[in-house]
């Protein structure tokens, strides 16, 4: 089996950190919106089918961090980039027989519940009616619905703000992504799974 893992959003803080951490065990293919030779990141527009097909060829898994930390864009451009990019990526990955997508989403989609509610990952996300809030939610829906067809496995991890007091530490993020990549899943179980990765705060320790 291939040891190659594609990491999207590698030109952002989380993606770059995961590239560094995962490189100990995997062959990393890092991509972002811009080339960055210092970290070995190449520019790939995830909306481009040809580019993405080349990107995922021969990969074992994809860690899709772009919905967690997308590049700056207009509202409309952001929605287009994240939804179509995710759609093209997951379909190309399935076509290339990539085993799994690890989708990194934002815990912010759950933060509109009252603080005193014990919210776990099975609760319905409550994004705000803004492109910034909707984008990761729509990426989740895209992956969930395609995973439902059985053509690829998706493990979705919702992360809090990286390194924030009530967010997700770099160490926890890396540990959980590593665990998601190694997890055994059969074709007879749910092909979509979602968890919350939080190091402290009100979401910590609840159904993660």
């Amino acid at each position: 089996m291939s040891n190659r893992v594609v990491v999207t959003g590698a030109d952002r803080a989380l993606g770059a950190m995961l590239c560094r951490e995962l490189a100990r065990d995997y062959e990393i293919v890092a991509c972002g919106v811009a080339d960055d030779t210092a970290i070995g990141c190449r520019a790939v527009d995830l909306r481009s089918q040809d580019s993405v097909e080349q990107l995922v060829a021969g990969a074992h898994a994809v860690v899709h961090t772009q919905p967690y930390d997308p590049p700056k864009a207009t509202e409309q451009e952001l929605l287009h980039l994240i939804t179509r990019g995710t759609y093209v990526l997951i379909n190309a990955a399935a076509e290339a027989q990539v085993q799994r997508i690890v989708l990194i989403s934002q815990l912010a989609v759950m933060e509109r519940y009252p603080d005193h509610f014990v919210v776990d990952p099975s609760w319905r996300p409550l994004p705000a009616a803004t492109a910034v809030s909707l984008a990761p939610y729509l990426a989740e829906l895209t992956c969930r619905e395609i995973a439902r067809t059985g053509k690829i496995q998706v493990i979705c991890q919702r992360l809090g703000a990286l390194g924030a007091e009530d967010g997700t530490s770099e160490q926890d993020a890396a540990t959980e992504v590593r665990r998601a990549l190694a997890r055994e899943m059969t074709r007879l179980e749910h092909q979509w799974r979602v968890s919350h990765v939080v190091s402290s705060g009100c979401f910590s320790g609840v159904g993660t």
């Binding site: 287009h80 939804t83 759609y87 492109a131 395609i146 439902r148 067809t149 059985g150």
Partner: protein, 268 residues
């Protein structure tokens, strides 16, 4: 929530057959701003029908208005919503990789946002209900399906992008004081049944274009619905038992007048 008994209505995607039906049903009692990505004048002049028997929109004159609007352009959408009491979003792109996302999803975002910003209080959103998508969760083998079941679009470009557009519209409806009625369709046909069609059977979830037009009158005039974002199956009930259309009758007071007995009954 308040019913829109009269006033001004903007229709996005007015150049298609459902738009044509909506125009025919609304033109007497509402002032309509008909918008499409292609000039309505051009669609009419060149008889650009979606299919051989699909209706063409009527080219309305003042006080109605015809305007070219690209729903992917927020400024154009917002300008089209200015001064309107209600909006109807009929825009759709099916097979085109880029436009499916920009029209079906980003367009839905633009319409919902513009309605909120311009004070349009009622939006009728539209989309497809698919059951033959080729995966095990597509409801193809189910019966008794009702309006509020979650859609499972799978990886189908058209179904997925319209599904995402519906979710965006729902979020706007629930966050803002925007009253959204969503109509889900599956199949359309003309009211007239040709002699050779009689007794040939019927596709479930079928509605005449003429009946779709009347449903928009009910959607604008319904005074209240239980939820800010309310979904309705729009079709005629058939004896196959696959779908229930009772909710539209119960909450909107709408039911299909074309019920297709001539198609599913053997000629005597």
């Amino acid at each position: 929530m308040s019913a829109v008994e009269s006033g001004k209505v903007v229709i996005f995607g007015a150049g298609g057959p459902v738009g044509a039906a909506a125009i025919a049903s609304l033109k007497q009692e509402y002032v309509i701003r008909c918008t499409d990505a292609t000039a309505i004048e051009e669609i009419v002049a060149e008889e650009r029908r979606q299919s051989q028997r699909a209706p063409l929109p009527e080219l309305l004159s003042a006080p109605h208005e015809n305007r070219v609007v690209d729903v992917t352009d927020y400024d154009q959408v917002r300008a089209a919503c200015e001064g309107m009491d209600a909006a109807i979003n009929l825009t759709v792109v099916r097979p085109h990789y880029e436009k499916a996302f920009t029209v079906n999803l980003v367009g839905a975002y633009n319409v919902a946002k513009a309605c909120v910003e311009t004070g349009v209080c009622r939006l009728i959103h539209t989309g497809p209900f698919h059951t033959a998508l080729g995966h095990n969760a597509d409801y193809w083998h189910d019966h008794g399906l009702v309006d509020d079941i979650p859609l499972h679009p799978g990886d189908d470009l058209y179904a997925l992008t319209k599904y995402l557009g519906g979710e965006v519209t729902r979020v706007f409806a629930e966050e803002h004081d925007l009253d959204v009625v969503t109509y889900l369709y599956c199949g359309f046909r003309p009211r007239e049944i040709l002699p050779e069609e009689r007794g040939q059977g019927v596709h479930p979830f079928l509605v005449s274009w003429e009946d779709t037009g009347e449903a928009f009158v009910n959607g604008l005039r319904v005074p209240d619905t239980p939820n800010a974002y309310e979904v309705f199956f729009i079709a005629a009930p058939t004896p196959d038992g696959k779908h229930s259309f009772a909710k539209a009758k119960r909450l909107l007071g709408w039911e299909a007048t074309d019920t297709w007995e001539e198609l599913y009954k053997r000629p005597s």
